[in-house]
Every structure is written in structure tokens, then in C-alpha cells.
Amino acid sequence: MTSREPLLDVQNLTIEFPLSGRWTPVVQDVSFSIEAGQTVGLVGESGSGKTVTSLALLGLIQAQGARIANGSIRFEGGDLAKFSESEFQRIRGERIGMIFQQPTRSLNPAYTVGEQIAETLRYHRGLSRRAAWNRAVELLDRVRIPQAARRAAEYPHMFSGGMCQRVMIAMALACEPVLLIADEPTTALDVTVQAKILDLLRTIQSETGISILFISHDLAVIAQMCAKVVVMYAGQVVECANAEQVFVTPMHPYTEGLLSAIPRPGQSSELVAIPGNVPPPGTMPTGCRFHPRCDYHIAGRCDSIAPGPRLAGAERSARCLRIGEVNLKGIVLA
């Protein structure tokens, strides 16, 4: 493997769910890659397909009745899109770790947090009970839980939301995976706790060199975490570029809309809205999926031609017919 090859390479991924008796694409033609040690942000609103995409990386969509209809997910020489359940069991937790939005609901209330972390180590690493426990305490210490040895013996209900998320991070890191998927990891947390968790993730990344796929609807959080940003809308990637490009010189009108919807101090009371709503799966508009909500759409063109991802520079693409024809606004730097 050459050093230029990305750690994870998703190409043309299409995921379908059965919807009133028909296979309906919920994620369509999604491509993006993650380099070793990189944090990639996956941004989108509810129904954009960002969570489904991330679950597909762990083989967790098949159990929900979905199927991968097309595309590949290259990871460490294999194709996750073709993996069987038993193959996934060797990857989950071992090579790819995951943390979720609701840390308090992701832990088993009947076991101590130490036991839950140790279980991962005993399963994947075959460690003895004692060795696994000691390692669990080390991990809790690593995620800055004070008095880790004592707290390892406590149950999840004795931890706050932020502390539970730290436990989840410790568990996800137990087998030293090369990729961490973080699905809205701070959305349920208070803003001061969020700041601390984001800090922790950055520290862990610089210590271990782990890659992170960071999923969020919150562009401010994405800006704080990610070097590269993938913007999803209605099951497709509409823009993919490095963070600076996405925030300062966006190429897709939807990205511009998301950026302008961020409340900014000193702006007049009127906030900027994107008109209309995200279309539900199975009722996608013809042509560009964003055209009914787009200020720049041209009748007869945007509503009839479905744009593919168009490359604009080496590491940059956008799914818009009007690239280069319209001048889009990024964030205004103070």
C-alpha cells in the first residue's frame, strides 16, 4: 500500500431501504475519502443520509433491512460494501470505533462502566479479566475521568452526560482502532461540556493519529474539528472540499444557505432561512434535488438535468449545474 492511498475510500455508494414495497435509495452515489490522521466532517440536516452512510461503514444497515445497491467502501485492502456479518464483527470496535449522540443510552445500565470497556478487550484481544480491567482503568484515565480506578467500578447512571460520552470514547478507543466514527457526539450535551469533549477528541487525535469521521448538523462544531468537509443533502454529497474552501468560498448554493443560516452577532434581527423543507425519501424532485429551494435555479435546466459531482480542483467537487456561473457568499470574517 502506498502512503498516498486513503485510509477509507467510499465510491459511488448507494444504499436502498424498502419503502412501501419498493427499494428506495436513501443514500445515492456518495463518494468521499478519509486520509490517515485526518478529521472529515459529514454535514447535513435530518434525512440527508449522513447517519445511514456512517452506519454502512460498520455493516449496521443490513440489520435494519437496507441493502447496498451499488458502490464500494475500500478500507485496509478490503471492500466493506461486500463484507459479511462475521467479517464486520472483526472490524467493529477493532479497526473502526463509533460513538453516538446519546451517550447515556449507549451504555448498559446493568454493568459498571469498567466491565463494559473490559468486555470489548476480552472479546477482541483475548485479555484476562484482570488485564482487561486494568486496561479499562487506563483508558478512563486517558479520557480524563478523574479517579479512574474508583469510577470504573461505578454504573452509568452515576455519570453525567459528558462523563458518559468520555466513557464511550474510552470504549471506542479500547482496541486502538484506526478510524473513529463520531455521530453528533456533542449534540445532546451542554455547550461548556461540548467544548471539553471536542478538546478531548482533538487531544486524542494528536496523541494517537486516529482518523475521525465527524458527523454533525452544526457547522460551528464542524469548523472547530474538521480539515475536510463533506456536505450532504437529500441523500447525495452536494459539496466536498477542505474546510477553508467550504466556509470561505462555498460552491454549492445549499452550503451557502447553511452558512448564512448561522446566527451572527451584530446582524439585523432578520435571520436567513432556506425556504421550503428537505424532501423525504421517495419524493425527490426531478433534476437537481435542491432546485425547489435554490435561489439560483434556472427553470428548464436545474429542474430537468440531475447534476453529477463536478470536480473543481484536485480535492474539490460540487454537485451543481451552475458552478462558475454564480458568486456564492461564504462566512464573513470578523
Binding site: V191, Q194, F247, P263, S269, E270, L271, P275, I331
Partner: protein, 271 residues
């Protein structure tokens, strides 16, 4: 005279009882909270989860009965009202909740959900109700076709606009909004907030806006009360709170707001 005067408001919940029903553990959810709201003004109650901001909002409307303090709306002592009188007072003070999916009855068409308060409070005849409901729907940006639709057919943003239309039905002077856009997508949040601002401008409605989202509060509130552990630790005009925060906790909250600018850009701008 202020529209709303709240003083010394307090509420303690019993969290555990002995076998004999004797309280053994209590939480003081709201302690000695005082504020006023002027007509046409937005007062934001901000703070992290568990600070008592939602409880404070509900105490004002007596959705939860306060243990201590007083609430006066347009000079009337709200806490002294009988159940019957309180119902009349509810015409003046309404509420919009966080989750629009669970605040509308799924089996009732939108038109009836909005019109029902008129029937209950004024016995308004059907035709008149339908006319007014259509007007209200228009006010929040919907056509008459919405009358016969059901909540499941609408998106979160649309439902929240319906919830606002319903809150407007009785012509309130004050609406307590508990995280009204927290459950909505970023792109539709502004639709709801701009509607609220427009209604305030046109009708002079005052809002108590309960939120944990400080970036949002800075843009839409006139005054801000910062709550911590059941008490207001700092209150003032929005410019003062965000520009010259006095309390350490306020400063900590403000410092934690993520900035929507990539770090590489921030660093470039600084050097």
C-alpha cells in the same frame, strides 16, 4: 407598568420519599427568581440543562404551581387566581413547546387544533372559527388547504408554525417559548424565528424565550437572564451580557460557544 412582573419565584421538587410518604430528598429547581417583561419585548432565559429555565417558564403560566414568590400579569396576581379565573388569564399568556411533533394531537386536523381554543374560551360559532383559523394560518404563511391536513403530513418547521398559530388564537400578550427551534433543522429554524419576530413587530407580543443556544439568543433577544442552579446569576440588555459579561459563569458560557470559522482561517486572520 410591566406586562409581567415575577418576583421571588421558587419551586422545590420532592425527589424521594420514605415508605410512609415523608419526603427524604428535595431539589430546589428554581430559587428566588425575579424578572420583568415589557410589552413587545423578548426576554431570553439561558443556561445549561438542569438550571431551572424550563421550570421557571412553566411556573409563570402555573403549568407547575410555584411554592414561593409572585407573578403579576398586567397587574393581576396570577398566583391568587382560581382555576376558572386562571383559564381566562391563559388567553393573555400562551406557550410554545420544544417538540412540535408531540404538542399537536395526531388524530385532529390542523384547522380544528387551532380553532378549538376559540370554542373552549369564547364559544365561537363554527363559521366564525373557520374564518379566523384561516386568517391565522395565513398569518403564519399557510393557505386554507392546511385546515384539513394532519400533523403527520407536515415537517417539524411547519408544525412549529402551526403551534405558533394556535398560541395566537386567543390574542395573547405573552408567549413562553421553550426551546422552540431546538428540534428543527438549521435551514428551517430561521423561518420560525423570523415569523416570531414579525408577529412581535405587528402585534406587540412579548416572548420569554427559553434557550441553551447563546449564538441564537444574541441575535433575537432584547434582554437576557442567565440561570445557574435555579437562580438568575446575571441579567441585562443583550449587548451588555454578550459584550461585558460580569459573572464568571456567563463568561464561561460565552467562551464555550463554537465559532463557525475553520481553525486554519482563524489562525491566518490572527497572524
Amino acid at each position: 407598568m410591566s406586562l409581567l412582573e415575577v418576583s421571588g419565584l421558587g419551586k422545590t421538587f420532592v425527589t424521594r420519599r420514605s415508605l410512609l410518604g415523608i419526603p427524604t430528598a428535595r431539589v430546589e429547581a428554581v430559587r428566588d427568581v425575579s424578572f420583568t417583561v415589557e410589552p413587545g419585548e423578548t426576554l431570553a432565559l439561558v443556561g445549561e440543562s438542569g438550571t431551572g429555565k424550563s421550570t421557571a417558564g412553566r411556573l409563570v403560566l402555573r403549568l407547575i404551581e410555584p411554592d414561593a414568590g409572585s407573578v403579576r400579569c398586567e397587574g393581576t396576581n396570577v398566583l391568587a387566581l382560581s382555576r376558572f379565573e386562571l383559564r381566562a388569564m391563559r388567553r393573555r399568556m400562551q406557550m410554545v413547546f420544544q417538540d412540535p411533533y408531540s404538542s399537536l394531537d395526531p388524530r385532529v386536523p390542523i384547522g380544528r387544533s387551532i380553532g378549538e381554543p376559540m370554542l373552549i374560551h369564547f364559544g365561537t360559532p363554527r363559521r366564525e372559527r373557520e374564518r379566523k383559523t384561516t386568517e391565522l394560518l395565513e398569518r403564519v404563511g399557510f393557505g386554507a388547504d392546511m385546515l384539513v391536513r394532519y400533523p403527520r403530513e407536515l415537517s417539524g418547521g411547519q408544525l412549529q408554525r402551526v403551534a405558533i398559530a394556535r398560541a395566537l388564537t386567543l390574542g395573547p400578550r405573552l408567549i413562553v417559548c421553550d426551546e422552540p427551534v431546538a428540534a428543527l433543522d438549521v435551514s428551517v429554524r430561521a423561518q420560525v424565528l423570523n415569523l416570531m419576530a414579525e408577529l412581535q413587530r405587528d402585534l406587540g407580543i412579548a416572548y420569554i424565550f427559553i434557550s441553551h443556544d447563546l449564538a441564537l439568543v444574541e441575535v433575537i433577544a432584547h434582554r437576557v437572564a442567565v440561570m445557574r442552579a435555579g437562580s438568575i446569576v446575571e441579567m441585562g440588555g443583550v449587548r451588555d451580557i454578550f459584550g461585558r459579561p460580569q459573572h464568571a459563569y456567563t463568561r464561561e458560557l460565552l467562551a464555550a460557544i463554537p465559532v463557525p470559522v475553520p481553525r486554519t482561517v482563524q489562525m491566518g486572520a490572527r497572524s
